[in-house]
Subunit: 322 residues, 4 copies
């Protein structure tokens, strides 16, 4: 089974063509949700999730199985992890008497993380990325201060993101091992995956797109990460998707080669225009196995960011429930 061969022509040629700055700006305006839910809205596409969508997600629980979508807390340094997370023991079993609390033996620790890295499963708040100095709902980048975000912080998602999760497992749908890093998956390919897997992405869905990054990494050994074509945001907008997650960061890495002034167009258009929260660097391998085993690609999905006042996102362990 060849990874490279299968996804190639004829689709591949056209959509590798760079979009021009002007085209991307048109796309930005086309999918913009600025003002759609009020001038003060900070939830963006999360507004697509209403009670019915929460209920529909829970209705998918049948087998009573749960799966983590998170990579391990990334404390080990490496090319993909130049700023490793910290896990520091403060008190271990060698010295476990708690000062000031007679008769208590305990161990404690500290964690620290700059979570917007390629080794970290995390959510991007709507203040994480700007386009021409503006973030979601038209607010200026300068509302994100050195002391924290005054608008569009992760607090918008503090009550959790709960609904129907859909996995579009692109390699599985196409019968390949992974998506090549010089290919950007198109909306047509997402629709082909829908058909192959027997699902249809709809309003309020938490869409997860698996590109096989980890399989590719194990085979290739380099740091490239496959991604989606920028035009996909129009499709997400039309389908009224609430959240986009993936095993990479949706935009291919390294970026900037295709669209020079829009280094990460899905981040820039998704977050800033649509108000689409992004789940980056998920571990979708165990999920893909379960979906395959159960023959279904929908499930309840719960993502619970830490309520960090002024935060640009959060580390995250999303749980899929079958």
């Amino acid at each position: 089974m060849s990874a490279e061969a299968d996804i190639a022509d004829p689709r591949r040629g056209p959509h590798r063509q760079a979009m021009s700055d002007a085209q991307l700006k048109v796309l930005f305006d086309q999918v913009s949700n600025w003002g759609r839910w009020g001038a003060d809205d900070q939830r963006g596409a999360l507004n697509h999730i209403g009670p019915a969508e929460v209920f529909a997600g829970a209705a998918l629980v049948r087998e009573g199985r749960t799966i983590s979508l998170s990579r391990d807390f990334p404390t080990r340094p490496g090319p993909e992890n130049p700023w490793p997370a910290q896990h520091h023991m403060l008190m271990g079993g060698d010295d476990c008497c708690v000062p000031g609390v007679e008769g208590l033996e305990a161990s404690t620790d500290f964690i620290g993380i700059a979570f917007h890295g390629m080794a970290s499963s995390h959510i991007d708040a709507l203040c994480h990325v700007f386009a021409q100095g503006r973030m979601y709902n038209g607010r200026p980048a300068t509302e994100v201060r050195s002391t924290g975000a005054r608008f569009n912080s992760i607090m918008a998602a503090r009550d959790g993101i709960v609904g129907r999760g859909v996995l579009l497992d692109i390699p599985r749908a196409r019968g390949v091992r992974y998506v090549p890093s010089d290919h950007m998956v198109t909306a047509a390919e997402l629709e082909a995956a829908e058909q192959a897997l027997g699902v249809r992405v709809g309003k309020g869905d938490l869409l997860l797109v698996r590109l096989g990054r980890d399989v590719r990494r194990a085979e290739k050994g380099d740091q490239a990460v496959p991604g989606l074509d920028p035009r996909v945001v129009a499709w997400l907008h039309a389908r009224e998707v609430a959240v986009l997650g993936g095993d990479g960061v949706h935009d291919p890495i390294p970026g900037g080669q295709v669209h020079r002034d829009w280094a990460m167009p899905i981040h820039m258009i998704g977050l800033a225009a649509m108000g689409l929260h992004l789940l980056d660097n998920l571990n979708l391998e165990p999920l893909a196995v379960v979906c395959d085993e159960l023959g279904r690609w929908t499930f309840q999905l719960v993502a619970a960011p830490l309520p960090i006042e002024g935060g640009t996102g959060s580390p995250l362990n999303p749980i899929a429930i079958f």
Copy 2:
């Protein structure tokens, strides 16, 4: 409505009597789950949650509402928060051009937390507390090294804790505003609350006990936190509860006054003998309001710890879903 008056005599007298060291040791042995699920088990009472329990939790979702049970990420110092969490912006809107990624404007931040504090909503892993040098399943405290826990780390819960949540809202059930800090709630009182609220705690439940800590705090202004009587662990054991959560830390604070050599008996017996994961310092106020409004005290509950290899717990934003 008087808080102090209502919970008083006659129950109060007896169970304020300190249990002796010998009595607590008997209790420890009585509820011990060491070896129950195998010599290598690290999940403890989480084993009470099976597919049926996961399914039963999801079946409680009707209104499609979600509620966070987490306090805000505790960055503000104070008497209850002597080691505040860190939220540091790394890049704000004043200087948002990402180095090395042309055309990308972003803001990023760092969080750090020693999460076992009284201001932090968190989960205790089974390696967090020892009793006489042993932790759950009989392992020595020294397996918790300066470099991390080799056994009983939070990784046991990495696929999430998902099931039926039950709120025993003690003040609500008793018609008071909060539990006084010199009172320890007994199993009889938990059962009285079950009756008042029309629920029965059972196998695999994620039990949340609200004592009204925050209401009390606002009124009294001191740092005392009400708690449960140690004998409650026998009741939790009999009911096969999977997880215990609360708005305090289950043991009254300050501890050590009642049981000097067992400063925090519920931690020591619950974690070390029973293998009962604990959810500390939850924010149960919004949940209590919703339960009251809907007239039901059961719901789906999802807790998703960060998968920290060797970690003694995790900060947590549990989500209740109605």
Copy 3:
């Protein structure tokens, strides 16, 4: 020996009078060094230290004794230390085999500090404080970005601050135990101390003013910290002092009571107008004992900030050498 009595009338009355905003602005302009050493200068009053001053400091070494002027690294929380420094062991003697280095046993640790606190001995860089949006040499506050200071960072002092240290031990000179917190020491009092101790502060000196904060703290138990009268900056300017250090922060704490819009006038005028680096919260008690014992109040002084690119200062262990 009464602390309160001695420093009182008649001097005390007048200089407790608040200076008006207009008076402080005049003082600011009077002592401004903006442009004095060129438009790009970032060293400010450190320019008063030349080779002769470095030499003169070293010439004071006779007895061959060294004394730390630093408080302990402030890891313990408390009213004066709401954001304690971090000292985290990463690898202790219980698990000391270094991964990847066979045959090496080691222990390692991590330190973290937000060093601009009242419990931390540190140096303020010239970018630490602004007055009406400007810092030393007229640069705008906005040159201090969320990513670090582009101007006036601590790198200006990276080669160390080395010269003649002078201790003006005010309580010693006046025969009291400490300066009361509602008194601000005047230039006249500094001159009286010079006479009493037999020293004269001059060009390029590293002036240390001891107010007896720690003695006062031990006796009074509150968090107030005595300070200097703002007019002292004119005296420091005339004497061409290079650095000002103290056992407090030069401005009295709590501030803002005397000069409302200039909460910390010595910081604001010293740092921003004069370019005077400040050494805050030194431990001057051991130094005072040695000076008293040797009967001299001058010595070589070496302060070596960590070279933090873009930093607003550094934790510091200044060493006095006799």
Copy 4:
């Protein structure tokens, strides 16, 4: 001028021979200072510095010049810096009004560092390295707890390390650009450098050995770091050196190739047997230039570790004063 050629035969052959475990154990015992300054001593070779040595150092100040020996605070990730230090702005010029202090505009920051890395100029405390489970003065490694070192912490050097610094600039003395990484400099070569530079290392000296690591790095581009032959410790012991510093870590990196069970023999014997504090990863390039320019290789040297209770060392900015 060839780096590789000049240092080669005939000396090179013999001392590249690995010492056997038995030989290294003999060397360890031969230079051991355990008990020399009492059973409770924690200063080790710092005891060689007395008042006369402090005085002699200061007497070398003539030109009034100061030079930092520290690399920049290592915040940038890279192959040599897998755990970068943290420099986080807490409050920048975009939001500089200090909460609770009306009228004060300031910027503040946080630094964090796991300082025992190859990119960090730091001092190793005597508790940093063990040999067969023991540290200096025979104390067990287990006295270094998960909560900090109970013995041999950096507090032994809290009053600073002050005395005569001597630079043995090996490449300069031999007329080459740098020491090759497969060569270990011998005591004979140190003596040859003494002769070439006209200095003699003696009691209480703070010895700095420059191997040209940075010049080599710039030329070769790899991460190898040259070092000293383990037998050098006998020479340091005989000369009664107080501190050893270098532009690398004294032991060659990667280690473990020559002496498999003694991966870093100079660390293991120097710290644990002799009680010799080590200054690692200094920036000796500017110092070498000044020494060359002035034609002298001795100067006053001041190293001021942060007084970290229980710490295994400290980041450091040593200052050479001419």
